[in-house]
Symmetry: C2
Subunit: 223 residues, 2 copies
Amino acid sequence: MARTTRTYDHFCMLARALEQVGDRWTLLAVRDLLGGPRRFTDLMGLLGGITPKTLSQRLRELESAGIVDVDREPGRREVWYRLTPAGEDLAPAVEALFVWGLRHARRPPTPGEKVHPEHLLKALRILLDQTTAPRHPLVWHIDFVDDGAYTLAYDGDTWTLTNRLTDTTPDITITTSRDAWTRHLMTPAPDRPSAPAGVELAGDRRAIEQFKRLLAHFPDIDG
Amino acid sequence: MARTTRTYDHFCMLARALEQVGDRWTLLAVRDLLGGPRRFTDLMGLLGGITPKTLSQRLRELESAGIVDVDREPGRREVWYRLTPAGEDLAPAVEALFVWGLRHARRPPTPGEKVHPEHLLKALRILLDQTTAPRHPLVWHIDFVDDGAYTLAYDGDTWTLTNRLTDTTPDITITTSRDAWTRHLMTPAPDRPSAPAGVELAGDRRAIEQFKRLLAHFPDIDG
DNA sequence: CTGGATCCATGATGATACTG
DNA sequence: CAGTATCATCATGGATCCAG
């Protein structure tokens, strides 16, 4: 009896969930789609070592599970993948695993390990959500000259990461490169230079001070 | 270059977490260990179709990841597996996936699907945690004549499931069988008989009413 | 009986190249 | 840009066997 998809044959909702998102690469694809719609090659880049075959297979599985919507318009080359509401609902699970990794699987990047600034920003967002509660809303624009631009915003309740610059006027704008940003964030906070090379901070003096204060214990989630 | 364990080679804490717990069966083993220490064969039973080879491999991986502690005492036949504190910290992630499954992957049990009462109880615990807040602490004993016994308790803040009968005096005691309990819980609440066959409820009249009321919308997590 | 190990078959994934 | 095609390798499942 040829089984079309691998199942656990348990009547358990965790098993059911893992049948949908438990395959290798699947939750990493969801992680990258949580930032907003992406094209196939965007995902290829973010997912590092995945092969196109595996990625297209995963995307089809996610589509048929109702987790991803595919946007193909005739006459347009690009295909955009976006999460459905059911896909967005995976955010708490992805985040819980992320938090666990931050606590229990944190190691400096090994040589040859792909460091993508978006994933650092995601870790930062989660950490901010768990450790701080600023008094007022905040908007930070982070512009990677060699990669893309992101908005990290606090709405008075939670922090949000968006993979583009929002229309809102930012409190600060960070202009940097992937390497400089990675180097800056991976430097233990006490050792960080106040004017790090390759990281330009623009904005109000107090907003910049607040930014540095809020980043002060990244990436230590404890204490 | 022979890679001993499969990695993603991403500097991302979600990828790191999934390298530890992302393999097939791993989170299901953690799920079953969250209830308390278990022996190899307990896990074999709870995990349904896993082969001993895969289970022992997963347990060794979990042990070397610091998620599971193995208790081998000389002169004792059994080997007990238990979660370390790092393993217990997986509870939020397991639960978030469970909740997602409850919302988005709920289907009645298909014929041939193993139904373990413990997993139903776990779903019930999560649901109670998300939907109710009784005024006072509660202790329910559930005794399966053909399987084992569990305690579902509310301490004034959260619900806990334990895979044995605790010493506390229970508010109610349910004596049932795997089949009868499954049949009862899988019947839509409005159709449940007030004196279901094979499910004996013992205890104070008001406690029994409360029990029925609290189970009234299982397994619907929404609304 | 518990806690595995071993052998083999098969399916899932990876590397590389190529195409509409 | 968005994938397929082909081939090689690895992980998993099924069955069986074994030692304490």
